[in-house]
């Protein structure tokens, strides 16, 4: 892929991540790991076997608009996976077809239709915004196209819902990312069980934000917790001072928030400049509040924030160490959670295809094969819930800390095998 080289990317971004000592250790241990077991990285098919039929994967991602960098990250992960696997999945050479939805739902729906009609892709992956996942659900289902959702986390996509509104599960749709329940309910349950029962809510006022806030509240109430009030700024809100001021003028010190990207940066900056840490307020949130894209901008301003997510760059397991090292070898930056989701999507597809000898002709067999996939992901044990196709995964409780000049999410606890309650 032209123009995606390491140096150019580094110049374009105007910064590089220098490897810290710790990351160097991670990288070298991963190299050692790779040296011990080469089978871990080479595809199982023997090199002498003639390559099979081309496998077309449609990647519906945003490369322009507000979510462009998520799309870029997911593209990097896709291409990394292929690079490490000889550009093949189950001995089939892969052709990637990218489509840029630009975070416009209508455009995304049209591209999905193009993948079906024109490109006739074997599998579709991607989709960042939940509305787009909902928007293409029926077309994908009708075309019996295997779609592995690698970000959009709206609960309805993998659930049974009344009249399928706003969406509902489909046999052909798998999710390699998360449901908003999974990143919000468990931490509510966890915190209230530990005795932190009163919370004030702050969340972006759109579908995903309200859903996350509601799931957190349900988890909280399970152990007798209560929500004392909320602020809900509109999505992509320019000025967070008014909302943080509201928080500062109410007595509940624990604040659960759902923001991501630019909103998270604005929220955390206002939170500090208005002196909330000194006034005793404590920040909690769904993991996107303190992911890499946010931390690299706010740095130690986020220290002390407690969030929940199914992964963190610091996660201590061999798969993650290798993944982080591989990623850093290929690109001048740390992988983020979006890269992990996409990487796991590729891995799940790869595993399923291998179990079928690369045969995608029978859709129902492929569905079955995907349902049976289990593997060790950078996030821990990964498998799909057979009835909803949402991942069953561990949720980590993380706390932001600055160590040796790097601000990271340190893992403080784990909630094992969280399943979405969808039927």
């Amino acid at each position: 892929m032209g123009g995606f080289g390491k140096n150019e990317l580094a110049t374009k971004r105007g910064y590089t991540y220098r490897l810290t000592r710790r990351q160097f250790l991670v990288a070298s241990s991963a190299a050692a790991l790779a040296a011990c077991g080469p089978a871990a990285i080479t595809p199982s098919a023997s090199p002498s076997a003639s390559p099979g039929k081309e496998l077309k994967i449609g990647q519906l991602l945003p490369f322009t608009g507000v979510y462009a960098e998520l799309g870029n990250s997911m593209r990097r992960a896709t291409e990394l996976y292929l690079k490490l696997n000889d550009q093949k999945l189950a001995n089939r050479p892969v052709k990637l077809v990218y489509g840029d939805d630009a975070n416009v739902t209508a455009t995304g729906v049209q591209i999905a239709q193009k993948f079906i009609d024109q490109d006739q892709v074997d599998v579709m992956m991607g989709v960042v915004p939940t509305p787009l996942a909902y928007g293409i659900r029926n077309a994908v289902h009708a075309a019996k196209l295997i779609f592995i959702d690698t970000n959009a986390g709206g609960n309805a996509l993998t659930r049974d819902t009344t009249d399928c509104k706003p969406a509902c599960k489909s046999p052909y749709i798998f999710r390699a990312s998360f449901s908003s329940y999974q990143i919000s309910y468990p931490i509510g349950d966890y915190l209230s069980a530990k005795g932190t029962k009163e919370f004030f809510l702050a969340y972006a006022n759109y579908g995903f934000g309200t859903e996350s806030a509601a799931d957190f509240t349900t988890g909280l109430k399970k152990n007798g917790g209560t929500v004392t009030g909320n602020v809900a700024p509109p999505l992509a809100n320019p000025d967070f001072a008014p909302f943080v001021t509201q928080i500062k003028n109410q007595p509940t010190k624990n604040v659960y928030s759902f923001f991501s990207g630019a909103d998270a940066i604005g929220f955390i900056k206002s939170w500090n400049s208005l002196g909330l840490p000194a006034a005793g307020y404590k920040m909690y949130g769904a993991g996107f509040l303190t992911e890499q894209d946010v931390l690299k901008e706010v740095k130690d301003l986020a220290n002390g924030a407690v969030t929940s997510l199914f992964w963190a760059v610091e996660l201590d397991n061999p798969e993650n160490k290798k993944f982080v090292a591989d990623f850093q070898k290929a690109y001048p930056l740390l992988p983020d959670v979006f890269a992990v989701q996409q990487y796991d999507g590729m891995r799940a597809l790869d595993e399923a295809l291998k179990s079928l000898g690369g045969d995608t002709s029978d859709k129902d067999k492929l569905v079955k094969a995907l349902e049976d996939v289990t593997f060790k992901s950078p996030r821990g044990d990964f498998s799909f819930d057979k009835s909803t196709h949402n991942p069953i995964q561990d949720i980590y409780i993380r706390e932001v800390k600055t160590q040796n000049g790097q601000t990271v999410n340190t893992i403080t606890d784990k909630i094992a095998k969280v399943t979405d309650p969808g039927k």
Partner: protein, 291 residues
Amino acid sequence: MSPELVFQQALNGLSFGALLFILASGLSLVFGMMDVVNLAHGAFYMLGAYVALSVVQATGSFWLALLVAPFALGLLGFVLEPLLLRRLRGRHLDQVLLTIGVSLVIVDVIGQVWGREVRSLSAPAGLDGSVTLIGGVYPVYRLFVMAFGVALAAAMGIVYRRTRIGMLIRAGVQDAEMLGALGVDTNRLFASTFAAGAALAGLAGVIAAPVFGVQPGMDTDPGLLYSLVVVVVGGLGTLSGAVAGSVLVGPADTFGKVLFQDVALAVIFAIVALVLLLRPTGLLGRIRIAR
């Protein structure tokens, strides 16, 4: 709302309004002089922020960025006016449409050059702390923004009323054609005005970056939408209109969003509609119909 809370939110609203004034001043200036609503104003603002980002990355100096970004944008405006707008002199609506195209191009070019990540800029050293006010601490930078907005408005007022350039601008606002007949080089005047408008957008890009952030989409929201709202509410094309618009819209938006959060997005546009219904030319606008 307790009195302390009202005070704090008023402060938030006024500092937000000061940012909106800086953002909208260039749009208002260009309209006053040239009868052109520059719909690329938000893209100029965005470009200013990204230029500032590069300057801060290279030199670490916010203050240098505050000089370089307006200068760069001014230069761009100075080139674009003769290259594009001058060809359509007298066809104001076509000039406006042209700026839609300019905006589409600039935003994509920014994405190609700087990438499309979410970025931010810190307040400069010395202004990044907080001071104690009624009801707790308040960020120094927001107080600085208010002072800056007032200073900018005062400076623009002095230029308008006391200098030859200001005289030309005021004359041009009244009747640009007559000015040309009197031997003033209107080509240079218009190019300079457009450049000044772009430079002000660039300035806003730097000043607002520590508060609003630097990210894709900022060209429309807050860039273009808020500056349009301010000048339409205040009255198109006058300095006092831009001041009145930002002093009203800043607090109205702040209080509106926290009091009516479920209709937050509609609040400012409802204000626009209301003002225009009661006073079609805005609060302090000139009575003039532009075609």
